[in-house]
Every structure is written in structure tokens, then in C-alpha cells.
């Protein structure tokens, strides 16, 4: 299994797309840092004792959390695309090219092959997602002015990063399942459409929470059950901004965080969902001809 994991890792790293992804990520982080820098400079800080009151402080906090939320939201998006695009071809691509023949005729089981692919992809993408998460947070806290700095505890950061890392776990497991049965193109289309539907479902749920419309909230919940990607992101923002316990913090959250707080059961569900998809991927691959 580890031999397959190592090969999977080497394959991604040796391909040009990985280098392009790394370069584009650096470009994205540089742009984000530039944006943060100029926002800090353009918006004048509140002078102590100027009597401008709590409203301006609240507004600044809102702007600051929105900027961080936007950075994390886009990070989530590019990490998801990378997870989808690398997983949907992991098996189908090798079957189509017959490269898989010489691997599978070795004394390894199909279960080991799928788990090896999963482990290789997961190690790389979880590392990427965590690096991206802390990169965004560090840029936000480091390049921003004092008024932009948000007060994060270590527990908040570790909890949010851990939940954020769940996203590639779910996406890779689902992508691998599709990859055992579909062509790369079909699996990619299905995954990306589901990803888009999950995020639309997430926004509908947020609007439902604001408007107090149960039907809208239920649509979001159903989408979270079908493809629990957006809810993982929302849960991460709740943990990061600690909006679970503070009504004021919820008001600060805005579009890129969560107005309603996804329950802790969601984490368990996402883990079970990923494990279940992986099990189906193994089962499906063991049954098929290559």
C-alpha cells in the first residue's frame, strides 16, 4: 500500500500541474497580502478617545473578518478543485492508459491499491490545505494594521485547521469512488457540479437562517448530507471566529462565515461519509475488470 502511496505522491509532485499550482498559490497569497496591506493603509484606524464609539470598532471587526473569510473561502475553493481534479483521474486515468495493468499484476490487492492512492493524495492535499490556511491567517494578521488583527487562540486555530483539512478527505474519497466507475471527464463533471450545488445549498441555508425560513434551511441541510463540503467550511469558520457562543460575533461573520452554527455531529457525519465513500470505492474497484 505504501509503495502505491509513494508513487501517487511522486506522480503529483513530478507533474507540471503541481508546479503550476504551487506558483499560482504563491501568486494568490501575494495578491492577498497586497490587498490586506492596502486595506490597512486606506482605512484610518480609530483614534483612542476620539469618541467614535463601539459602532466603528464593530465595523472594523466586520471588515477584518470579511477579508479573512474571503481569503479562506477562495483557499477552500482552490483546494477543492485540486482535490477533485487529482482524485477523479487517479484510477480511471490509469485504467484508460493500461498503466494500471503492471501495478495490479503484482502481489498487491485492489484494496491496497485504492487505499494507497487515497493515502498519497490525502497526505499531499491535507498538507496543502493546512499550509494554505495558516498562510492566509498569517498574512491577514501580519500584513494588516493593528485594527485588523483578530484575537485567535491556539485552540481556535488548531480546531479550525483540523476541520478545514476534512474537506480534501471527503472530496478525495468521493472522487476516487467515481474514478473506479467513470471516465475521468465524467467523474470530474459530476464532482464539480456537486461541489457547486453544495455551495449554493450552503448560501441558501445562510439566507434561510437570516430570513428564518425553514424550507431554505432544509435545502441546505439536505445538500450538506449529499455532499458535506460547504458545511465543513461553515463549521471551520464557526470554530475560527468562535461565533458559536457569541451572538455579536455572528453578526460580524457575514457572507463567508456561518450565520447558523453547524452541529458537532456534522464532523462525525463528514468523517463517516468520507470513510463510507472510500469503502464503496474499494468495493467497486474490487468488482470490476480493468
Amino acid at each position: 500500500m505504501w509503495a502505491i502511496s509513494k508513487l501517487t505522491l511522486k506522480e503529483i509532485i513530478s507533474k507540471r500541474i503541481f508546479l503550476i499550482t504551487v506558483i499560482m498559490t504563491v501568486v494568490f497569497l501575494a495578491l492577498y497580502a497586497t490587498a490586506i496591506y492596502f486595506v490597512s493603509r486606506e482605512a484610518p484606524p480609530v483614534e483612542p478617545g476620539a469618541g467614535q464609539g463601539a459602532e466603528i470598532v464593530l465595523l472594523q471587526q466586520f471588515v477584518s473578518s470579511q477579508l479573512l473569510g474571503a481569503g479562506l473561502y477562495f483557499s477552500s475553493f482552490i483546494a477543492a478543485l485540486l482535490a477533485i481534479l487529482s482524485s477523479v483521474s487517479a484510477i480511471s486515468g490509469e485504467v484508460a492508459s493500461h498503466q494500471i495493468d503492471t501495478w495490479l499484476m503484482r502481489p498487491i490487492s485492489r484494496t491496497q491499491f485504492v487505499l494507497g492512492k487515497f493515502a498519497g493524495l490525502a497526505v499531499l492535499l491535507v498538507a496543502y490545505v493546512i499550509a494554505l490556511f495558516f498562510g492566509i491567517v498569517l498574512i491577514h494578521q501580519g500584513f494588516g494594521a493593528d485594527w485588523m488583527a483578530l484575537d485567535f487562540g491556539a485552540q481556535q486555530l488548531i480546531g479550525a485547521a483540523s476541520v478545514f483539512a476534512l474537506q480534501p478527505f471527503v472530496l478525495i474519497a468521493f472522487g476516487l469512488l467515481l474514478s473506479t466507475r467513470m471516465t475521468t471527464l465524467n467523474a470530474g463533471i459530476v464532482s464539480i457540479m456537486l461541489y457547486g450545488a453544495a455551495f449554493i445549498g450552503g448560501f441558501i441555508e445562510q439566507f434561510g437562517a437570516v430570513l428564518e425560513k425553514t424550507a431554505l434551511i432544509n435545502i441546505g441541510i439536505v445538500m450538506s448530507l449529499i455532499y458535506p463540503v460547504d458545511s465543513i467550511y461553515r463549521k471551520m469558520t464557526v470554530l475560527l471566529f468562535n461565533t458559536d457562543s457569541s451572538p455579536l460575533a455572528i453578526a460580524q461573520g457575514g457572507l463567508f462565515t456561518s450565520i447558523s452554527s453547524p452541529s458537532n455531529a456534522l464532523i462525525v457525519y463528514a468523517l463517516l461519509y468520507g470513510a463510507g465513500m472510500l469503502w464503496f470505492a474499494v468495493y467497486s474497484f474490487r468488482k470490476r475488470d480493468v
Partner: protein, 311 residues
């Protein structure tokens, strides 16, 4: 013990194509030819033996282990017909990855890789990226992969398809080298001369059916033919064992004939018959049938029997 054994092994795709009802037993130290035209089901058979395809029915064993199990693949090597290897690896990295999958101990890997690289004539070229390899080089590195784990059984599927004449000879020599070391080589090929030059036992497959199998020299014994040079009487009293005679050409006072029998063992009887009739015989030369003739003979015989069966 039979190294490869199948019992009515069948693999079809929704009831069509593939290969049906293959029963064979192959012993140790043999080069076994699986001969048939493109699309006759040869690769399907090998891929089923290696667990890449699930059999529709029947059973198969490699070294006594049921096909599809991990144990059945432990001492097996394989060169696929469509040899595609990750082009982002170098030849040596490919071999290192396979060595790891074959659980070759780390301290032995380098030595073993050097050995197989040398055996397939890739010394000094294995460090290049596979993306830069020619088809011939890819096939050679594929051969190195196939024999890397010092397997007892090697399946080679059209192993010379991308090679030049020198490369083809190298592969033939490699097969003979493996056989001499007690290995069993299962050679899939549509090239009659390739099979003839190295194989002891042969199966002929056609349109998904195994038509005949046996020793190659036995399969070659189709309607024996000889050329006979006699003096030139008006009429030669050919003995009854002769099934067909044709004049080839007159050579001065002599005549060259093409004479056909049902069996090679009829030749002495013919010579005796001619001598008894006081016909001078100057030359009797056996004619080895063309490989194509042998192949078509067995295919046509199968078709004829199928036709009679249909009636």
C-alpha cells in the same frame, strides 16, 4: 506440478468476444506459444490469468494457486501488449517501484536492477525518463520489469511488437535463457515464425476458441509432402498411400514431382512401391509446410467440424 493450469476457463464480455473454454496444462521449463491472429482472445486470456479480468466461468491456477489471488501473482512476471509506463519516471525509478511492490529486499534491489537492465540491453540508458524512450526502449524496460522478481512464470504478450530484428533476436535469446533456468514462458503472439523459433508447445486460438494444442512438431505434421525425382517414364505407378501427385518440372531425362500423403510414415512405403515397379528414384526431399499453411489447416479443420456439427 503444472505451473499453469486452466479448466474450461472462459472470459466473455456480455456473452460476446473474449475467449472460451480454455483447458491447458503447462509444465516447468517450457516456452508455451499462444498463437492466434489479432482479436482472437489471447490477451484476454492472459489478463484473466493475472486477475485483471474476472473469469466468466471455469478455473485457472498459477503454481497451484487460484487465479485472482495475491499468492497466484507472487512469482509471476508480465509484459503487456499495450506497454504503457508512467512517463514521469525514469527507467530505473520504474524498476525500483516494481522492486518495492515485489518486496525485493532493499539491499538486493540495486544489484538485481543492474542485472535485468543488462539482460535487456538497457545498460546506461535506464536513467533516462520514460517519456524520452522510443517504443523499443519502452518494451525493453517492460521486459526488465517482467523478469525483475526472478519469476517462475513470465507472461509475454507480443513482446517483440516494437522491436527491430536485433531486438527480436535479443528477446528470443532471453526467452531461451529463461527456459534454460527452469522458468516457464507463456508467449502470446500472432507471429508464426516467432512462435516456431522458440516454442516447444503451442496452442492455436481463433475467434475466441482454442482450436488445437500440442507439441509444435506434431502440429506441423499436416498432410506430409515430399519432392521426388524419378526417371521419366510415361506413367509412374504411384502406390495407393499417395493421395496426390503433381509434376513440378522436367530436369533433362528426369522428372521432379510433388507427392502428398496422409502421414509422413507413408514415405518409405512409396519408395518401396516405386522400387518394386523398377522406377529409379534419385531424390526424396521432405517439404516443410509453410507456417501459414499449418495455421490455416487447423483453423479450417475447426471450421469444417463446426459446420458439420451445425448440420
Amino acid at each position: 506440478m503444472n505451473v499453469i493450469e486452466t479448466d474450461a476457463l472462459t472470459k466473455t464480455y456480455n456473452g460476446k468476444g473474449g475467449i472460451s473454454d480454455v483447458s491447458l496444462s503447462i509444465g516447468e521449463g517450457t516456452i508455451y506459444g499462444f498463437l492466434g491472429p489479432n482479436g482472437s482472445g489471447k490477451s484476454t486470456f492472459v489478463r484473466t490469468m493475472l486477475g485483471l479480468l474476472k473469469p466468466t466461468s471455469g478455473r485457472g491456477f498459477i503454481l497451484g494457486e487460484p487465479i485472482g489471488t495475491i499468492r497466484s501473482r507472487e512469482q509471476v512476471g508480465y509484459l503487456p501488449e499495450l506497454f504503457r509506463y508512467p512517463d514521469w519516471l525514469t527507467g530505473r525509478q520504474l524498476l525500483e517501484s516494481h522492486a518495492e511492490l515485489c518486496r525485493i529486499p532493499v539491499r538486493e534491489r540495486r544489484k538485481r536492477i543492474d542485472e535485468v537492465v543488462d539482460l535487456v540491453g538497457m545498460t546506461g540508458r535506464d536513467g533516462g525518463r520514460i517519456s524520452g524512450f522510443s517504443k523499443g526502449m519502452s518494451q525493453r524496460i517492460g521486459l526488465a520489469c517482467a523478469i525483475l522478481n526472478d519469476p517462475k512464470v513470465v507472461f509475454l504478450d507480443e513482446p517483440t511488437s516494437a522491436l527491430d530484428p536485433i531486438g527480436r533476436k535479443d528477446v528470443r535469446d532471453l526467452m531461451l535463457y529463461l527456459r534454460d533456468r527452469g522458468k516457464t514462458v507463456f508467449l502470446n503472439s500472432h507471429l508464426l515464425h516467432e512462435v516456431e523459433s522458440v516454442c516447444d508447445h503451442v496452442s492455436i486460438v481463433h475467434e475466441g476458441d482454442m482450436i488445437v494444442q500440442g507439441l509444435w512438431r506434431d502440429l506441423m505434421q499436416i498432410e506430409a509432402q515430399v519432392e521426388v525425382v524419378t526417371d521419366h517414364p510415361a506413367d509412374v505407378p504411384w502406390p495407393p498411400c499417395v493421395t496426390h501427385v503433381r509434376k513440378i518440372k522436367q530436369e533433362g531425362p528426369r522428372m521432379r514431382w510433388l507427392v502428398q500423403f496422409e502421414r509422413e510414415s507413408d514415405v518409405p512405403e512409396m519408395i518401396h512401391g516405386l522400387s518394386s515397379a523398377r522406377i529409379a528414384v534419385y531424390e526424396v526431399k521432405p517439404i516443410i509446410p509453410h507456417l501459414e499453411d499449418v495455421f490455416l489447416h487447423w483453423v479450417n479443420r475447426k471450421k469444417e467440424s463446426a459446420y458439420v456439427g451445425d448440420q
